[in-house]
């Protein structure tokens, strides 16, 4: 049952390994966006510490959105996507595999990079830990929700902008609880409850979004 899922993940990771440049563009974008703020706002440590959680999170969110288009577009162009819809496997399962591979390639590097960027804002060790955990719980949700948008805008000419308009509003809850968790840790309240909410959103998206994405893909190939 899970073998096709495993193969899809393996396939997409193999392809990503053979074209590594795509991974780095997302990562560099993330680093640049987040670094612009200290440059623009000025080196006042108290201000920076205050805005850090929000900025790192917004940066991660934009970077993850930037990578979304690649989930299905190549498969759509070379016909592997239509073949995927014609296999005896449940399409939602294959979608889950593709999103998982996408997150491993584009989400995990963001999570690993974030504490480094957080240091620029003089975040405490505890706050950095919470940042990592919140991103670890939040970025898979971003990929899962984003996949619906990517599927809906497949093959459209100005798909990139439309994708942003579709997906960004849906990212708001994740942003609120993600940045909120770090803020709560900074202010000494503890981010536990925010993290629990993030985990709940992740579980919900994990169950529901592959079904929606699969339906959207069917429409896109019609």
């Amino acid at each position: 049952m899970l073998e096709p899922l495993f193969w899809i993940v393996r396939r997409d990771l193999t392809i990503a390994m053979r074209r590594r440049a795509d991974v780095f563009t997302t990562l560099i974008f993330f680093a640049i966006v987040v670094s612009l703020f200290p440059l623009g706002i000025g080196p006042e440590p108290n201000t920076l510490r205050l805005i850090a959680p929000g900025i790192v999170w917004v940066g991660a969110l934009l970077a993850s959105m930037l990578a979304l288009e690649q989930i299905f577009s190549a498969d759509h162009r070379d016909g592997t996507l239509e073949q995927m819809l014609l296999t005896p496997q449940p399409v939602a399962l294959l979608v889950a595999g593709k999103v998982m591979a996408h997150w491993l390639v584009s989400g995990v590097p963001l999570v690993l990079m974030a504490p480094l960027l957080g240091l620029q804002f003089d975040l405490s060790w505890e706050a950095l830990q919470t940042l990592i955990v919140s991103l670890l719980l939040g970025t898979p949700t971003l990929s899962l929700i984003g996949a619906i948008g990517a599927a809906l805008t497949l093959g459209l000419r100005s798909g990139g902008v439309l994708l942003a308009l579709l997906v960004l509003p849906l990212y708001i809850p994740v942003l609120i609880f993600g940045a909120g968790a770090v803020e709560a840790t900074v202010s000494g309240l503890g981010g536990q409850s925010h993290l629990s909410m993030l985990a709940a959103i992740l579980v919900g998206s994990l169950v529901l979004t592959p079904l929606a994405t699969a339906a959207a893909l069917r429409v896109a190939e019609d």
Binding site: R11, I15, D78, G79
Partner: protein, 216 residues
């Protein structure tokens, strides 16, 4: 499962397809049974590809029904996909993967496992000896098509839906593919193909449907 009887397995009933505002065909009906080959003819733009995509279940027809063993393929979905092998204009292979990897992955997704030696064997059979290990993007157009066609040899689907399978193939490959299709049909399989080439291959069980004649 019915064996070599003339009970039709695929029934197309009063099918109509519309692209944009244009009616491609209306009230199209035909059946296809074990050991039969359907050659779909028609000018460019007469709706051949659309019909094939509808037969594959990728495209929702405007009206009418496509039935597989009596049930609508929309309802069967994955159950129907198990018996179907569709090859469209796009080859459905990944340029960054080698021919062997492409073949093995599509086999796994089709629900059976293909060992690596067997994959090499099949690729040699389809005329790709010496190219099995190259990333497919370095192959020529015809060689890419052969990678896609290797699935025909690997798969045991009963129903083949092939859209212009001879495109980009050289004379030897056309010959080979004709043999493969003939063998498949003789063994009780079914095939629906479109091609602009004269198909000499096909024996007495060939049927022809011409699109875009009287329906305007």
């Amino acid at each position: 499962m019915s064996d070599a009887t003339n009970e039709p397995e695929l029934e197309v009933h009063a099918l109509s397809c519309v692209r944009g505002d244009r009616v491609l065909f209306r009230d199209l009906s035909f059946t296809l049974g074990s050991g039969e080959l359907l050659h779909l003819k028609g000018q460019n733009g007469s709706g051949k590809t659309t019909l094939l995509r509808a037969l594959a279940g990728l495209l929702l027809p405007e009206s009418g029904e496509i039935r597989w063993n009596g049930s609508n393929i929309r309802r069967l979905r994955e159950e129907y996909s198990r018996h179907l092998l569709y090859l469209g204009h796009l080859n459905g292979i990944k340029g960054d993967l080698t021919a062997v990897e492409n073949l093995r992955i599509s086999a796994t997704l089709d629900g059976f496992s293909l060992s690596e030696p067997r994959a090499w064997e099949l690729l040699a059979e389809i005329g790709l000896r010496g190219h099995e290990d190259l990333p497919s993007k370095h192959l020529s157009q015809g060689q890419k098509r052969r990678v896609a066609l290797a699935r025909l040899l690997a798969n045991d689907a009963r129903m083949w839906v092939l859209d212009e399978p001879f495109t980009a193939l050289d004379v030897a490959a056309v010959q080979l593919l004709q043999d493969v299709i003939r063998r498949h049909v003789k063994d009780g399989g079914m095939a629906v193909i479109t091609t602009h080439q004269e198909v000499a291959m096909i024996g007495e069980h060939t049927r022809t449907v011409v699109l875009g004649q009287k329906h305007a």
